[in-house]
């Protein structure tokens, strides 16, 4: 992993080296974008919609996304549902356990900014980006499966734009 990061430094000096890095860069980032293994972090209503997206009509597997139960093997964390203050330290811990290049997709109003539980609520964390960096927000309460699929494609597009040494 370290070597790949230092690749651009070496190949720059060889004539035509940048051509090599850009092509390697595009292949590696395409590989990441095309096979995002998602860690299901379903807490509330969005979890049911996430299951419906995983089912046969709006299949996640078409995008190459399979469900991995352990955070070590997951690339993208789908935070689906309300994150309460009691749950926040657990979310942070699981995010730290994930292996690098990791991404987060905040699904649903509650994960983006507290959603319907913004006013008068003493126990809900107003948005998951207060504790972990979020890449893509998918609004909706719960968002339709098509919106979620489009969100995942957005994560893919975002990965494509990253350079080799800019990974999170």
């Amino acid at each position: 992993m370290g070597l790949i990061k230092k690749l651009p430094v070496y190949t720059e000096h060889i004539p035509g080296g940048s051509l090599v890095t850009t092509s390697v860069n595009s292949v590696l980032t395409m590989a990441q974008a095309k096979s995002l293994w998602y860690l299901l972090f379903g807490t509330a209503c969005c979890a049911i919609e996430l299951m419906a997206t995983g089912a046969s009509r709006y299949d996640f597997d078409r995008l190459g996304m399979i469900f991995r139960a352990s955070p070590r093997q997951a690339d993208i964390m789908l935070v689906a549902g309300t994150i309460t203050k009691k749950m926040a330290p657990r979310v942070k811990r699981i995010y730290d356990q994930m292996a690098q290049p990791r991404y987060v997709l905040a699904m649903g109003g509650c994960a983006i900014g507290g959603g319907p539980f913004y006013y008068d609520c003493y126990s809900v964390l107003k948005g998951v980006d207060k504790i972990i960096p979020v890449d893509v927000f998918v609004p909706g309460c719960p968002p339709r499966p098509e919106a979620l699929l489009q969100g995942c494609l957005e994560v893919g597009k975002k990965i494509r734009t990253l350079k080799l040494d800019e990974w999170s």
């Binding site: 990441q32 095309k34 096979s35 046969s56 078409r62 352990s70 070590r72 290049p101």
Partner: protein
């Protein structure tokens, strides 16, 4: 279009180049090993893609579609992505054990292919204790699984490791007994002899016709051997999150993942050579027969996974010792009588 003459031609070419016989042997053996290893890696990648497509179509959905035609390069993308993943070793983990576990599981999965006859003359080295060697090597993977379970210092992994040890040990005995039935009939343990013994009736004198019970016992024990549902307790996703490979990420996890599929192919390859007549078959070249039968067996294993629920640990043990083992003994007695009667 047999492949064996090609290897023979390469060997003669080496000799003509003036290498000494020993050196030529060495080079050709290494070449063959590299060829078989790369062939298996490609095959494992194909199997991963095939399993995702079969499971998708069983479950009325599409499966990978985005990378290439019908997601053909999906597994290549997965492998490339796993290459880039950070390779985490938990601080509390038992470093050495944690590091060597996937290595052992990976090498044992590939080591079994030395004696498997891919076709007429297409065998890396025809040991005269072929089948015994395979059984010994495949049970080696338990040590890898237990090391993974113990090494990652994670309660789920420990449970997964212990379960895999209990399961594979108790399903080893019926597996060996069912294969022994065939060895009794053919009289030799070398794989080529086993296949040769089934080449009667224009290539259809398979052992399964004479020992159907042995075949059934073998298939059940083999599913348990390869940790496939309904016996996939070591990595039961719903109970133990991800079983023994819970702390592995990046390339270490990829090695476990590939080893599981290669194990599945090994188990099906043994099934074809021992029970379904190996590469015997009219018209088509021998290696095509072998590949067809093995992929059919792999399809059956995949079919099991997407239809059956999972057994509980104690039911697993009970089934092995109280049902499968007595049946295996009955099979041995039946084969003994059959062998006497055939003489």
């Amino acid at each position: 279009m047999e492949l064996a003459p090609i290897f023979a031609w390469i060997y003669d070419l080496l000799i003509s180049l003036g290498l000494s016989v020993a050196l030529a042997d060495l080079v050709s053996q290494i070449g063959l090993a590299v060829f078989v290893f790369s062939l298996l890696c490609v095959l494992a990648l194909f199997l991963v893609w095939w399993e995702r497509k079969i499971s998708a179509h069983i479950q009325q959905r599409f499966g990978p579609m985005m990378t290439g035609w019908h997601g053909v390069f999906q597994t290549v993308m997965d492998a490339l992505k796993l290459l880039q993943k950070e390779d985490i070793t938990p601080t509390v983990a038992d470093r050495g054990v944690f590091f060597w576990a996937p290595v052992i599981v990976f090498t044992c999965a590939f080591a079994a292919y030395i004696v498997i006859p891919f076709g007429k003359g297409l065998i890396v080295s025809d040991l005269n204790i072929g089948i015994l060697y395979i059984i010994a090597i495949t049970t080696f993977t338990i040590i890898g699984l237990m090391m993974a379970g113990w090494g990652s210092n994670n309660k789920y992994a420990l449970l997964g490791g212990m379960r895999s040890a209990a399961q594979v040990v108790s399903y080893e005995v019926p597996l060996v007994l069912s294969i022994m039935g065939v060895v009794m009939v053919t009289g030799s343990m070398s794989m080529n002899d086993i296949v040769a013994a089934q080449s009667g009736w224009a290539g259809f004198r398979w052992n399964i016709i004479f020992q159907p019970l042995g075949f059934v016992i073998y298939i059940i024990a083999a599913t348990a051997e390869a940790n496939r549902t309904p016996f996939d307790l070591p990595e039961a996703e719903q109970e133990l999150v991800a079983g023994f490979n819970i702390e592995y990420s990046g390339m270490k996890f990829a090695m476990f993942f590939l080893a599981e599929f290669v194990n599945m192919f090994t188990v099906s390859a043994i099934a074809t050579t021992v029970f379904l007549g190996g590469w015997n078959g009219p018209l088509l070249p021998s290696w095509m027969w072998f590949l067809g039968k093995t992929l059919a067996m792999v399809f059956v294993l995949m079919w099991f996974r997407w239809t059956f629920p999972r057994l509980r640990v104690d039911q697993l043990m009970e089934f092995a010792w109280k049902v499968l083992l007595p049946l295996a003994f009955v099979n041995i007695i039946y084969v003994g009588v059959l062998a006497l009667w055939l003489k």
